[in-house]
C-alpha cells in the first residue's frame, strides 16, 4: 500500500521513475541492440550461419508471396469495393457475400479451403472443359490451381481482397456525392468519373490502411506454411519448421525466423511511409 503511494508520488514529482530522456524512441534502441547481438552471433557462430543459409530461400519466397499476393488483392479489393457500392442488386449481393464470408472465416481456414477444396475443384473443372473443347492450352492455364506458390497467392489475395474491399469502399464513400455528380454532369461516364475524379481523391484516404494491410499480409503469409507441400519452395515459416524438425535447434531457428520477419516488416513500413508521404498532397 505504502509502496504504491510512494511510487505514485515519485511518478508525479519526477514524471517517470527512471530518468530516461523522453525524445528517444527506446524500443528502436533495444531493437538495434538485439539486432547487433544477433548480427554478432551470425558472424561468429556457425550454427546461426547454417540456420540463416537454410532460411534464405524462405525469405525470398515470403517476399514473393507477399508482393504478388498483394498486387492481386489490390485488384480483387477494387472489384469487391466497387461491387459493394454498386446500386445493381446482383453485383452488390455477390460482392457483399464475398466480403462477409471471407471476413467471417479465419484466414488460415480460407487458405486451406482454397488450396484443398476450391483449387482442386477448379483445376479438374478446367481440365474437363479443356478436354471437351480439345484445347490443351486451357489445361496448361490451370497451373494456377496446382502450383504450390500460386495456390498460396490465390488464398492470400482472395482473403485480403475482401479486407481491401472494405478499405476501398470506405475510401470511395468518403468522397462526397457531389464530386461524382459534378463529373457525371459534365458528360463523363461512371467509369471515367471514378477514374479521374473519385479514385484520385480516395487514394489519399485509402493509402494508410492499404499500407498497413501490406505489412499485415507479410506477416499473415506465414499461414501459407499450413498449405505448402514442396519443401524447396516453402516460405519462411515452413522453412523454419522444417529446419527445427530436422536439427532440433529450436532456439536458433525461431530466433532467426522472428528476426527475419521483423526486419522485413520494418523494411516494408519504411517503404510504405515513404510512399504515403510522396502521395499525400498538402491540402
Amino acid at each position: 500500500m505504502t509502496s504504491q503511494v510512494e511510487r505514485q508520488s515519485t511518478a508525479i514529482k519526477g514524471g517517470r521513475l527512471l530518468p530516461l530522456p523522453r525524445n528517444i524512441p527506446w524500443w528502436i534502441v533495444i531493437l538495434a541492440i538485439c539486432g547487433l547481438l544477433i548480427l554478432y552471433f551470425i558472424t561468429t557462430s556457425t550454427s546461426y550461419q547454417e540456420t540463416f543459409t537454410f532460411l534464405a530461400s524462405g525469405v525470398i519466397r515470403t517476399l514473393q508471396l507477399t508482393v504478388v499476393g498483394y498486387l492481386f488483392a489490390l485488384v480483387f479489393g477494387l472489384i469487391g469495393g466497387l461491387g459493394r457500392i454498386s446500386k445493381n442488386t446482383v453485383i452488390n449481393t455477390v460482392a457483399t457475400l464475398y466480403v462477409e464470408v471471407i471476413r467471417g472465416v479465419p484466414l488460415l481456414v480460407v487458405l486451406i479451403y482454397i488450396a484443398f477444396v476450391l483449387a482442386p475443384a477448379a483445376s479438374s473443372l478446367v481440365s474437363q472443359i479443356a478436354t471437351a473443347l480439345n484445347a490443351p492450352f486451357l489445361d496448361n492455364m490451370a497451373f494456377v490451381f496446382r502450383d504450390d506458390f500460386m495456390r498460396g497467392v490465390l488464398g492470400l489475395s482472395i482473403g485480403y481482397g475482401a479486407y481491401l474491399s472494405e478499405v476501398y469502399r470506405a475510401g470511395i464513400e468518403s468522397i462526397s456525392r457531389g464530386q461524382m455528380e459534378a463529373a457525371r454532369s459534365l458528360g463523363m461516364s461512371y467509369g471515367q468519373s471514378l477514374r479521374y475524379v473519385v479514385l484520385p481523391q480516395a487514394v489519399r484516404v485509402i493509402l494508410p490502411p492499404l499500407g498497413n494491410d501490406f505489412i499485415a499480409m507479410l506477416k499473415d503469409s506465414s499461414l501459407v506454411s499450413a498449405i505448402g507441400a514442396v519443401p524447396l519452395e516453402a516460405e519462411l515459416t515452413l522453412r523454419g519448421r522444417m529446419y527445427s524438425a530436422t536439427t532440433y535447434k529450436a532456439f536458433e531457428t525461431w530466433n532467426s525466423v522472428a528476426l527475419l520477419y521483423l526486419m522485413m516488416s520494418l523494411g516494408l513500413s519504411v517503404i510504405v511511409r515513404y510512399v504515403e508521404r510522396r502521395w499525400s498532397v498538402p491540402k
Binding site: S185, V281, K283
Partner: protein, 245 residues
C-alpha cells in the same frame, strides 16, 4: 413556332415516401431565362436534376433539345454534355488546379487536345473575371471565385442550356454580386438558363419568366412584372412577403 428546348410533361418523382414532384409540366424556349422560386423542400432541385438526368423520374417525360432524357435508350452522357449545371456547393475537383478542373471533361468528353482545352479554359476564366487563378487549387480560392470556376467549367463544354441550383446561397454576401454578374453576362448573351434562386435582383434583371413551386407542383408561372406586382395565388403572395426584404 420553334419547339421549346426543354419540355417537361407531367413528371412525378418519389424519394421513398416523399412525394417530391407531383405532376410537373413546364417548357422553356431557346434563349429564355427561367427563375424558379419556392420554399425549402418544394422540389426545385429535384426538378432541375431531372433535366440532366441526375434524378430518374417515376413517370412523365423530359425532352431536352429534342432528346428524350427519360427514355432508357438515350445516351445520358451526350445529353449532359449539352446541359451545364452549377451547384450550390460548387463541387469543384479539389485534387485538380482550376485550369485542370476546366480542361478535364473537355479532353475526355469533347476529345479536345490539351492546348485547345487550355486556351478555352483561360478564355473562360477571363470571362468570369479570374484569369490569374488558373494554377491555383480550388481550396485556395474564395467561395465566389470557386463558384465562378464552376460556371467556367460548365461553359467549357459549350452547353446549350445552363442550370443553376441556388448558386449564391452558400456565399458570403459580399461575393454574391460577382457570381450574379457572371450569370447576367451569360443571360445577355442569350444562353438558355434555368435558375433556382431567391435573388430577386437577378430575377428582375434577367428573368423572362418566374415559376413559383410548392409541395412538388407549380403554383404560378408568370412574368417577373406580374409576379412582383400582382401575383395571382395567395400562396405566392405569402412566400414573396417572406423573401422580399
Amino acid at each position: 413556332m420553334p419547339k421549346p428546348i426543354i419540355q417537361i410533361e407531367d413528371v412525378h418523382k418519389h424519394f421513398g415516401k416523399v412525394y417530391a414532384l407531383r405532376g410537373v409540366s413546364i417548357s422553356v424556349d431557346r434563349g429564355e431565362v427561367l427563375v424558379v422560386i419556392g420554399p425549402s423542400g418544394s422540389g426545385k432541385s429535384t426538378l432541375l436534376r431531372c433535366i440532366n438526368g441526375l434524378e430518374h423520374v417515376d413517370s412523365g417525360n423530359v425532352v431536352v433539345d429534342e432528346i428524350p432524357v427519360t427514355r432508357s435508350t438515350t445516351n445520358i452522357n451526350a445529353v449532359r454534355a449539352e446541359v451545364g449545371i452549377v451547384f450550390q456547393q460548387f463541387n469543384l475537383f479539389p485534387h485538380l488546379t482550376v485550369l485542370q478542373n476546366i480542361t478535364l471533361a473537355q479532353r475526355i468528353v469533347r476529345k479536345r487536345n490539351q492546348a485547345e482545352s487550355e486556351r478555352i479554359g483561360r478564355d473562360l476564366l477571363g470571362k468570369v473575371g479570374i484569369p490569374d487563378k488558373a494554377n491555383s487549387f480550388p481550396t485556395q480560392l474564395s467561395g465566389g471565385q470557386q463558384q465562378r470556376v464552376a460556371i467556367a467549367r460548365a461553359l467549357a463544354m459549350n452547353p446549350r442550356i445552363m442550370l443553376f441550383d441556388e448558386p449564391t446561397s452558400a456565399l458570403d454576401p459580399e461575393m454574391i454580386k460577382e457570381v450574379l454578374d457572371a450569370m447576367l453576362l451569360l443571360a445577355k448573351e442569350g444562353m438558355t438558363m434555368v435558375v433556382v434562386s431567391h435573388e430577386m435582383g437577378f430575377a428582375r434583371a434577367a428573368a423572362n419568366r418566374i415559376v413559383f413551386m410548392d409541395e412538388g407542383t407549380i403554383i404560378e408561372d408568370t412574368s417577373p412584372e406580374v409576379l412582383f406586382t400582382n401575383p395571382r395565388e395567395e400562396r405566392t403572395k405569402l412566400f414573396l412577403s417572406k423573401i422580399l426584404h
